[in-house]
């Protein structure tokens, strides 16, 4: 059932669709999530993105590798926050609001820090495409 049917069923058909789009408009399909780390652009397949959240308090984990920024508590789960700047030898921009992309790597979750809100795109234009499973295996703490 697509959105339109749902809206009709629920009696919302006379309401303007979300975002004021024309009902006929084709919603672009989202396939990729592109985010910035400093000047770098990285892309994840959208299947790997569980959610994007604001940065809450990150607890640093003493004596852990540099690319582990710390731990974050999300609704009862504790996830590692990955510092992409350390991995890609760059630096996060100051003054840009940070977001955490919760990435699903075969049911193991990582919080990946991004400069600003990531873009959700149909085509991957600029970012280096990450394979999250191999990323996970490469950077997990040995």
């Amino acid at each position: 059932m697509d959105n339109e049917d749902l809206e009709k069923l629920q009696g919302f058909d006379d309401l303007e669709p979300l975002g004021g789009l024309d009902e006929e408009a084709v919603h672009p399909e989202i396939n990729f999530c592109t985010f910035n780390v400093g000047d770098l652009s990285l892309t994840m397949p959208i299947e790997a993105v569980r959610e994007i959240i604001d940065v809450s308090e990150i607890l640093p984990l003493p004596r852990s590798p540099e690319h582990i920024r710390g731990l974050v508590h999300i609704r009862g789960d504790v996830l590692p926050v990955v510092d992409m700047a350390r991995i890609y030898k760059t630096a996060y921009k100051s003054g840009v609001e940070k977001k955490l992309i919760i990435a699903d790597c075969n049911n193991e979750f990582l919080a990946i820090m991004s400069d600003g809100m990531p873009d959700l795109l149909e085509e991957n234009e600029e970012g280096d495409l990450l394979d999250m499973v191999s990323f996970f295996n490469e950077y997990k703490v040995q």
């Binding site: 003493p62 731990l71 504790v78 996830l79 590692p80």
Partner: protein, 795 residues
């Protein structure tokens, strides 16, 4: 008589076996050539025999043994199932059921049950011969006589059946009758025995329940914390309420008093026409008086409301407290569901010990105790190999050969005790042998060979024992079976540290060695000690904490050892281990005494926070490699608290100390914060300017109440306060800070234009640290700030 609960478990288990056997016998009876079930039946009878013996139900055990033998013969095709045999088997089962029933009723076993049953079997064996005398009937009658009390009808059936047995082997015909009889009379008995008090639950379900319980515990912890906050709120509301009442009272007294004079006037001019002259006066009196009255009434209402609020809070906290109790009760009950009595698990060792002893040509008396101690099945499975390992070591290396033992004046038979007991939140398992003890010289030699220690190192026995747990250390050099212990003890240590357990060794030359394993009661919810270090909160499972103590900061300075009641142990500082800045402490710092594989360490932390039951969440795969922490727990208010894994942490430092890698971060000196409380803007500005110029962080408030709000949300190291201020004056602020016990950590310097001795005395009496008189200059203020700021911030 064996332990009650053990018997309960036996009964539950026995019922399963009886059911299976019953089904099997029926099957055999109707189809003697079908042997598909005989294997299971044999095993059931075997287990029944073993378990019954374990709970000292000798009669049941013997009957089951006999049945086991018969099943074996049937299995091997040595015996054919005749209906007579089937009947006999049923009789056996019935006898067992009756015994169980009598045991359950607290009457114990009928000591002649086996005899009667056995003689019944002999009859079957002697089918060809005529039945020898009335003996079987007689025994049956005796048996029934005992049952009469309870079940007269059944006993009649039994007598009948006993008679049938005699005839039965002769012809196949009567079997049907027996069947029928069983169908009517016997089942009643069955049903009663089968009325089980037990339900079998998948361990996964229990696991899930336990997880839910864990979540519930966290929410409960949150509530408990909230309640204590509610108490603070209540106190604050009370405080504000009292102030309001006193203000209003003095206000209304003032106006009621002023109104009173006019009331006299009023009387004389009351009913006659109100003269214009008095009208103004009257109005004024009226409004003010009414207002004051109303205020007073409102205040009374508030007072009442406050009282009910207060009792509401009291009721709430008592409810939360009882919920707290209920949750811990349920938690225990659910954990209990996963618990098995260790006695059931001892069997697995008994057999192994016998085999190992044979292999090593040792004579071993294996003694077990603490049958009824309950242990989490999952924990037991995890440590099973470790215990077996220790037993194997004890037999192979600890206990001497019979010859050696005789030479040393010991009995040729070595003894190994396996004892389990509960100690608080932990299960303690002790494996004790009376062998030759651990050879310290041997450890030293091997440690030297392996360059673990230096020749000039002076090591205590404790240190040497600790070496045993190092990975790759093994004194059992090749075929030298007589060498000391140490094979794979590092693995044992690792296993235990994974489940937050610990191990300790005590040994005495020629007297023997004791291994003491300590494991938590449950893997999911465990009791932890919470403490802070370097501005972070950490936890340690209580099972690892031997004791809590404290140390003077000036003693700590460059101390390398810590002595507690004649026990001297190395000091480790958690801040250094983790590379955290020293958050500084007042005069003393807490010390956590850890027991890591038998060696004691004193770990200095910054502060103790408390103790609670919590869930430890292990790290996911991404952080698996992080060894210094064993996972995290989430506090009631959502804070993440890493779980210290001392075994790994202290090993890590031992290694990095050798390679000189300890990178101690420079303690970052944190800006100290001073709160200036004064109703005059210029005083606040001037003081701020001076203090900020001296690198202090300055916050300001215009009165006492504002100041209290600020210290709730900010860390404040010193308060500089005026005395006369609106809303809440300096004295009130002082007494409130004193009430909250905050003066220790945020001393108050009074800064006032009141220079009289009486004010000064009152201020000091209320706990002020210093008294400055306005006007003030830069130097006096700075000096006073420097002098009075809480000493622990001077690091």
């Amino acid at each position: 008589m064996a332990n009650e609960s053990l018997i309960e478990f036996f009964i539950a288990e026995a019922e399963d076996h009886i059911n299976l056997l019953e089904k099997g016998i029926l099957n055999l009876e109707s189809n003697p050539s079908d042997r598909s079930m005989i294997e299971d039946m044999f095993r059931s009878a075997h287990t029944l025999k073993g378990s019954a013996a374990l709970v000292k139900l000798g009669q049941i055990s013997k009957i089951a043994h006999l049945m086991e033998d018969i099943f074996e013969e049937i299995k091997d095709g040595k015996k054919k199932t005749t209906s007579g045999l089937a009947t006999w088997m049923f009789r056996g089962l019935d006898a067992i059921k009756r015994l169980i029933k009598s045991v359950r009723a607290g009457k114990g076993e009928d000591p002649s049950a086996f005899e009667k049953f056995n003689s019944a079997l002999n009859q079957i064996h002697e089918t060809a011969k005529p039945v020898s005398g009335p003996a079987p009937l007689e025994t049956a009658s005796i048996l029934e006589a005992e049952m009469v009390e309870e079940e007269p009808t059944v006993s009649a059936e039994d007598i009948l059946e006993a008679e049938v047995i005699e005839e039965e082997p002769v012809a196949a015909g009567p079997a049907k009758t027996v069947e029928e009889k069983r169908g009517v009379g016997r089942r009643k008995d069955d049903v009663e025995v089968m009325e089980s008090k037990f339900v079998r639950i998948d361990i996964d379900n229990v696991e899930q329940l336990m997880n839910l319980m864990g979540e519930l515990t966290i929410i409960k912890n949150y509530l408990v914390q909230q309640v204590s906050q509610v108490h603070t709120f209540r106190d604050e509301i009370n405080f504000a309420g009292r102030r309001l009442i006193s203000e209003v009272t003095s206000f209304s007294e003032k106006y009621e008093y002023s109104g009173l004079e006019k009331a006299d006037d009023k009387v004389s001019y009351v009913d006659p026409l109100l003269s214009e002259f008095h009208e103004l006066e009257f109005d004024k009196y009226d409004e003010l008086n009414l207002f004051s009255r109303k205020l007073h009434e409102i205040t009374d209402d508030i007072n009442e409301a406050m009282k009910s609020l207060s009792s509401f809070f009291d009721a709430l906290s008592s409810k939360v407290n009882s919920m707290d109790r209920l949750i811990s009760n349920s938690k225990e009950l659910i954990s209990e569901a996963r618990m098995v009595t260790i006695g059931k698990l001892y069997q697995r060792f008994t057999r192994a010990v016998r085999d190992i002893a044979l292999q090593n040509n040792k004579k071993i008396k294996f003694m077990t105790a603490g049958f009824e101690t309950k242990i989490d099945k999952i924990i037991f499975e995890r440590i099973f190999d470790s215990i077996l390992h220790i037993l194997r070591n004890a037999i192979a290396h600890g206990i001497e050969t019979p010859n050696e033992r005789t030479l040393n004046g010991k009995s040729p038979e070595g003894t190994i005790h396996l004892d389990t007991r509960r100690e608080g939140n932990a299960i303690v398992i002790e494996i004790k042998d009376d062998g030759k003890g651990i050879d310290f010289d041997r450890i030293r030699t091997v440690a030297l060979e392996k360059q673990i220690i230096m020749p000039n190192e002076d090591l205590t026995e404790e240190d040497l024992l600790h070496i045993l747990f190092r990975s790759g250390f093994s004194t059992a050099a090749s075929a030298d079976m007589t060498s000391g212990r140490g094979v794979g003890l590092d693995v044992v240590k690792e296993t235990l540290s994974l489940i937050n357990g610990s191990i300790e060794i005590m040994t005495e030359k020629n007297e023997g060695t004791t291994f003491r394993l300590k494991v938590p009661l449950s893997l999911i919810i465990i009791n932890v000690v919470i403490f802070s270090s370097g501005g972070m909160e950490f936890i340690l499972p209580s099972t690892l904490v031997q004791e809590l103590s404290q140390i003077d900061v000036d003693v700590l300075e460059d101390a390398e050892t810590f002595t507690l009641r004649e026990m001297t142990m190395p000091i480790t500082r958690l801040n250094n281990l983790l590379g955290l800045r020293d958050a500084g402490a007042t005069k003393q710092k807490p010390v956590i005494i850890l027991n890591i594989s038998g060696k004691h360490f004193a770990m200095v932390v910054d502060g103790l926070v408390g103790q609670e039951d919590t869930i430890i969440k292990p790290f996911g795969k991404f952080l698996e490699g992080i060894k210094q922490f064993a996972g995290v727990s989430i506090s009631a208010d959502g804070k993440i608290r890493p779980v210290i894994n001392p075994a790994a942490l202290i090993d890590v430092t031992a290694i990095s100390l050798e390679s000189g890698e300890v990178t101690e971060k420079e303690p970052v000196s944190e800006q100290e914060t001073i709160l200036v409380v004064d109703d005059s803007l210029s005083v606040r500005k001037f003081a701020s300017m001076i203090l900020e110029g001296k690198d202090y962080k300055v916050l300001s408030a215009t009165n006492g109440l504002e100041a209290l709000n600020i210290i709730d949300d900010n860390r404040v190291d010193l308060i500089i306060s005026d005395l006369e201020m609106p809303v809440m004056h300096g004295y009130e602020l002082l007494s409130e800070l004193k009430r909250r016990g905050l003066l220790e950590i945020m001393p108050v310097v009074v800064l006032t234009s009141r220079s009289s001795e009486s004010h000064k005395n009152k201020a000091f009496q209320l706990g002020a640290s210093d008294f400055l008189i306005k006007p003030f200059d830069e130097t006096t203020l700075y000096e006073a700030a420097k002098k009075n700021i809480a000493p622990h911030h001077l690091t």
